[in-house]
């Protein structure tokens, strides 16, 4: 059975791109969220194997969402998607419980490597 993924990003463009990369690699994108709050709610409903999380989103940012999700499920496997120059935020996200990160602009190979590491 293929792994399920929840893709969280406020930009449709980014969501589409990540979904494409992951679907082509055989993952099943089961849901999308465009705010942190939505990400938390969708996680509760869907219990996906993997979450990709943008850092900056309206109505609860990605880091806050990571914190919230990990509080309910410490084993949640969350991959942060960050822009260049957001190292401090990525560090914060890792401290909050994110398991790995990729830096935009995405190279599909790097995204998949990170996903493999997380799902190991």
């Amino acid at each position: 059975m293929s792994h399920t993924v929840l893709v969280c990003d406020d930009a449709i463009f980014m969501r589409t791109m990540i979904s494409d990369i992951l679907s082509q690699a055989g993952f099943e994108v089961v849901g999308e969220a465009e705010t942190g709050r939505e990400a938390v709610e969708r996680y509760r409903q869907l219990k996906p194997d993997l979450v990709t999380m943008d850092i900056v989103m309206p109505d609860m940012g990605g880091i806050e969402a990571v914190r919230e999700i990990c509080r309910e499920d410490p084993d949640a496997k969350i991959l942060m998607c960050s822009a260049m120059g957001q190292q401090a935020l990525v560090v914060e996200a890792v401290q909050a419980g994110a398991k790995d990160f990729v830096v935009k602009p995405f190279q599909p190979s790097r995204v998949l490597e990170a996903v493999q590491r997380i799902l190991g």
Partner: protein, 625 residues
Amino acid sequence: MDLSRYAALFLTESRDHLGACNQLLLDWERDPRATEPVVGIFRAMHTFKGMAAAMGYANLTELAHRTENLLDLLRSDPGLANRELHDLLFQIVDALESGAGEAVAGNDAKLEFSGLIGKLDHASVATQPTGSWAIPARSAEPVVGVTGRAVSIAIRPDAPMRGARALLALRKAESLGTVAAVRPAPAAFEQDEFDGRFSFRLESEVPDEELRRLLATAGDVASVELSAETAAPAARGAEPAGDATGRTRQIRVDLRRLDALMNQVGELVVAKGRLAELVASHGSPDLQALSQRISRVVAEMQTEIIQARMTPVWQVFDRFPRVVRDLSRQLGKRVAFQVEGEEIELDRSVLDEIGEPLLHLLRNAVDHGIEAPAERKRRSKPAEAIIRLIASRERNVVAIRVQDDGQGIDREQILQRALKEGLVEPGTGVLSDDQLLRILSRPGFSTATTVTDVSGRGMGMDAVFSRIRTLGGSVHLATEAGVGSTFTLRIPSTLAILRALLARVGEERYAVPMMSVAETMEFNPMAATAVQGREALLLRDEVIPTVHLRERLGAQGKRAVGRRPTIILDVGGRRAALVVDALLGQQEIVVEAFDSPRGMLPVFSGATILGDGVPVLILDPAALV
């Protein structure tokens, strides 16, 4: 076993661990549900308990033990801790810190912790999910030195966000065993300059090969080096970052020894200069060769000692987070305090001198700089203010910035006060940042509308300035209404010996620190221009006001006509052209302690004795630009 031999070591290491507790408590408070801080404090407390027990300090051990038990309960759910509990833990850390000093002085038996232990018991009950009164008993464990492996990890240099990657590797390690002595401190990971190399000690059952493989799964790991390690842990900072292989051997040296050595080398530098002069005027070639050799050796010696005295700024910065926290709480303000560049090094004596000025600037930032949460909300700023303390290297000086995102300094209010006190010409318009700074640095000029016990009395802004100037440094201010203020201190990284340009005016010689000399040129009065009634010269399209040292010092004689040598001074971007009678060349000078006599012109920062035994005053460039 004679324990007194270990007392000093116990004391320094305790401070390291308890200092770490303070930091972690702050982290915990900021993020009450995070487990890392609790786990970290638990570990530090455990180590401290072990050391105290080994020293035979029963009372200290008891308090640490009880605290550890409570932390053990909280590890599974840090969110159970409330504000009172955090406060209690802060108190305990303070008590242990002062208690450690007392114990070493032989007063462990007199330590009285029953009040704190009572509160601890109470808290433990409140925290026990079962509501049981029982506090889990723990037999005193034997103290073991840290055993395990030293692990050095390098993140691939081309990897994005090496710091975040390093943190992932560290978390991986934490999932495999107990991690200690992380160098550099994880706080450094967030710095863009972090090169991706770090090390730590790991106690874990996982075999070498497996460990290598697992750590590499953090991604972008270039190499993992392991080595067996059984030595007792070195105190924090005693080891240079990136070297946990145990090959660097360290000793602790009393600072006074280094001071004495530095003074002796200072003397040697002066004697060397004199010798070189004598040999140059009437020495044989043999003597000249010998003199040159001595010069080289002395120079190397000097470099070594200066290096030995260099100390990372965190040794002073470490106490600030706690100060800022306590103060902001007391004033009902919310502050995120961020520190950067903790690993930057300064001469120990310089470092000792800047603690107080920085403390003053930080207090000012909390008290006057940032607004109360309600006010911030009104201005649609985040309720939590940000105060940053940033150290960075700028050529041969170290810059330390205290930055707040508060309301900025009220130019109008300062202007009114300055007008009333006659500090500025009537009719002065909007004050520039420089003018503002000059007014604030006047002795006795305080802007605190009400005197609190925080600021408004005590070390004033003027004291900050004179302290920094004595160190040969400068202060710079940038402030914007509604956006915040930044004070920048620029300080030479080492004090005792500096390169100076010697200049002559009349019969007197003066030394100008090279760190403020941008270049030298010739001043041609015919080519001088005037800007706003002040004489100035043009240098590559830049207008630089002139300062005639002769007039400034009130020296005898008239301003010379004709071309004159001129020193272009640069202090943090502010420039002046210092016109002198003659330039005498560069020289190393040993700065002597200097008490400026009353009535003396405030343009000198110190004195030195030249090779020929004649004392010479050192000019303060910041007072001239």
